[in-house]
């Protein structure tokens, strides 16, 4: 905290400058000094979909804000509606959600027993799912909530589009994973996994695909709260990490653009060029709900038919972890994301030849339109 009158910005990159640069190793190896980095290029809420969607969403997908408004206030009812009693009432409900019933609205939860995710508690419970490849005990109660919401469903759910679009457009969400103490990228029972927020653009090839080998500077100026050091192991080329409470940057720099996940962990298939798999944990419901409202906008919810107030009730209903000590009600809900990375060189210094090359031509960010 600085007095406004004596405001003097802190130094950039001090922490980073204290760290060294990789030593020489085999020139064709992605491991440099037992280290490999990756940068996130895709993230989607894990939604299992049957071929025709009938298994999980037999009634179809949910209504969105526009449709719910029509249900609540039918335009052909012959009523002269008042702004305060309709639109403002609805906005008030969205920003001040409750678990009171919504008798006129019907929310469609995802059905069935199949879901993508991880077994977070190590148990096989009555409400757990089975993964598409047969693993039992999958904890992903958020799938019940979001599984039939168009925003999240593939291939063209609105959030699926925008999250990837923002991944490319913005730097706020640059999510770096660095593996150190790696002896072997296929099997190593003790590696260190460090999470950072980066600050450089993603690199794409002429076809628009993300390419491995780009350089990313760590955001030590503002991103200290996103740095985590975790224990991990690699088995048959799959990295898993120990559970830890993690906060990571969300899709765009609006509102409260980060998510806090309890018992967060990853399961990633590693190659020298990429990493792909799942991250999962227990999401704080209040934080997640507010992120939905604050990070995204009313029109995004309309595009993807996202009924926030109904989702809130469903999140509360299916919450499965971290009970409130006073009320006993669970405050968090199990959730999973599908994620993809490409290999990247993570630069611990602000200044370096690789950093220079990474910013050439990156100065002209276009203004955002038509989101």
């Amino acid at each position: 905290m600085h007095s406004y009158r004596t405001m003097k910005p802190a130094f950039a990159g001090l922490l980073g400058c204290a760290l060294g640069v990789a030593t020489a190793q085999a020139a064709d190896s992605p491991l440099r000094d037992q280290t490999i980095g990756y940068v996130l290029t895709a993230k989607n809420v894990a939604i299992w979909q049957s071929p025709d969607g009938k298994v999980e969403c037999p009634e179809g997908v949910n209504d969105g804000p526009r449709e719910q408004f029509k249900t609540l206030y039918p335009p052909d009812a012959g009523v002269k509606y008042k702004f305060v009693e309709t639109q403002l009432e609805r906005e008030g409900q969205i920003w001040n959600p409750t678990t009171e019933p919504e008798p006129k609205l019907h929310f469609k939860e995802a059905q069935g027993t199949t879901a993508i995710g991880l077994n977070l508690d190590g148990k096989i419970g009555p409400n757990d799912f089975t993964s598409p490849d047969g693993e039992r005990g999958i904890d992903n109660q958020m799938y019940r909530v979001l599984g039939c919401v168009d925003n999240y469903r593939g291939p063209d759910g609105s959030y699926r589009h925008f999250i990837q679009d923002y991944m490319r457009k913005f730097n706020y969400n640059r999510f770096l994973v660095e593996l150190t103490n790696v002896d072997d990228l296929t099997n190593d029972d003790d590696v260190t996994v460090t999470l950072y927020r980066g600050k450089d653009p993603l690199m794409v090839d002429t076809l628009g695909d993300y390419t491995p080998g780009s350089t990313h500077r760590i955001d030590f100026r503002w991103g200290k709260s996103f740095i985590y050091k975790l224990r991990g192991k690699i088995q048959d080329g799959v990295l898993t990490t120990a559970a830890a409470d993690v906060t990571f940057p969300e899709s765009q720099a609006r509102g409260v653009p980060y998510l806090s996940v309890r018992d967060w962990r990853v399961k990633l298939k590693l190659t020298p060029e990429s990493a792909e798999g799942l991250m999962a944990g227990y999401t704080d419901i209040e934080r997640y709900y507010n992120s939905l409202g604050q990070n995204w906008s009313t029109h995004h919810r309309s595009y993807g038919a996202e009924p926030m107030t109904s989702e809130y009730r469903a999140m509360r209903k299916h919450a499965d972890a971290y009970p409130d000590p006073q009320t006993g009600a669970n405050t968090a809900i199990s959730m999973a994301w599908e994620i993809k990375f490409v290999q990247a060189f993570i630069l611990h210094e602000e200044r370096g030849e690789q950093a220079i090359s990474s910013v050439q031509g990156a100065g002209a960010h276009s203004e955002v339109a038509g989101e």
Partner: protein
Amino acid sequence: MREIVGLMGVLAAAFVMLPAEAKNQQLLEDYVREPMPRGFKVIVADFEGPVFADASGKTLYSWPITNLRNGDAGEQKGKPTCDDHKYTENAGLMSPYPGGLELPEVETRPSCTDVWPPVLAKPKDEPVGKWTILDRKDGRKQWAYDGYALYTSVLDRGPGDVFGGTELRGTSEGGAQRKPVGPPPNVPPQFTVRTVATGHLLTIGATGRSVYYSDNDAPGKSNCDSKCLHDWLPVLAPETVRPQGDWSILESSPGVKQWAFRKMPVYTRALDTRNGSLEGSDVPGWHNVYTQLAPTPPEGFTVNDMHSGQVLGDAKGMTIYVYNCNDDAVDQLACNHPDTPQAYRFAICGRGDPELCVKNFPYVIAPKEAKSNSHIWSTMSIDPQTGKKATDNAPGSLHVWAYRDRPVYYCARDKKPGDIECDTFGEFNGARNGYKAFWLRDDFGGNAGGSR
């Protein structure tokens, strides 16, 4: 302007923008002297910089057409539409909700011209330069600048008030808003000035790159050696330019001319990756160049780091919030002022319950003896039950801080300095009807008026 001249010392102390030699000299933005009709003048406002004003000192505004979610609102050049019609229904310009809903406090809702009186021309007035005269539908003549019809705001009470609108970059999600109108800044063609939360930031026009100066230089002399030049790129001046006003030229090496602003050599930064970056100011001894700084908040307010920049906080560092609201009628009247209907705000902060609103978004209480050094910060008495202004010392009233003549707030969810749990809380990211943190710097997004 007297009040602003009095601010100059404060401004110089706020950010170390100029070396000691230059302190207390010209700190207000210079502007291009254009021909203008009699009866108008330029006032250098404390945040907006040079703005046009009428003879009584009231700031002039235009209402440029803006593309909203479901259509356009505002005025095209040469076509004033703000009239005395009192709209009773919303227009449905913002999805997902339909138009045709009866507006709040409809019985007393003012017309557009009640809130935005047109700047009328007299019969013998003649166009001058960019100043033209338009025909209104009511038969009267109205002044226009650069084609856009001109208005004053009923919110402005005296010279230097610019409460009707701002040039600070927002989004169209905030509706079609009125903008103060003023002369262009007097900068060489290769530069441009961008209004950001901390002031009028000097940038390179073609690239948007920020412009910096160094404490290590001296007036009229660059001391940037070869190592320095690796990171800092002198802004070169064309061969034939001449010094003018705040601008001069130095020969940083034989035959190489470099621009100097207020005598200090100026540079861009090689490592900047975004337009309007403030990152170079993190390097010790280096500073962004502003043609005019934003006025400092009153004593006791603080600057606090968060996950992508800095926000304004109170003395304990708790984040300050502003409330934004534009209604959805054709004439797009603001609803974020204590004189406007409070039903909008009450819906967001407490589902219509004023007491819940005070709990969720408490007012920022100002000491009784609190004083502001600028037009843009003030104190006012508020009745928290109605959200409207109260007479001083009225029972139950609160004496609160106000920014741009609107109260500022806390967020009850914030637990520590730098928390912004209620940023973009409300419709359309808090721009249409909701709260936004008081951003001062955003290195990743456009929250402080910079680019994303």
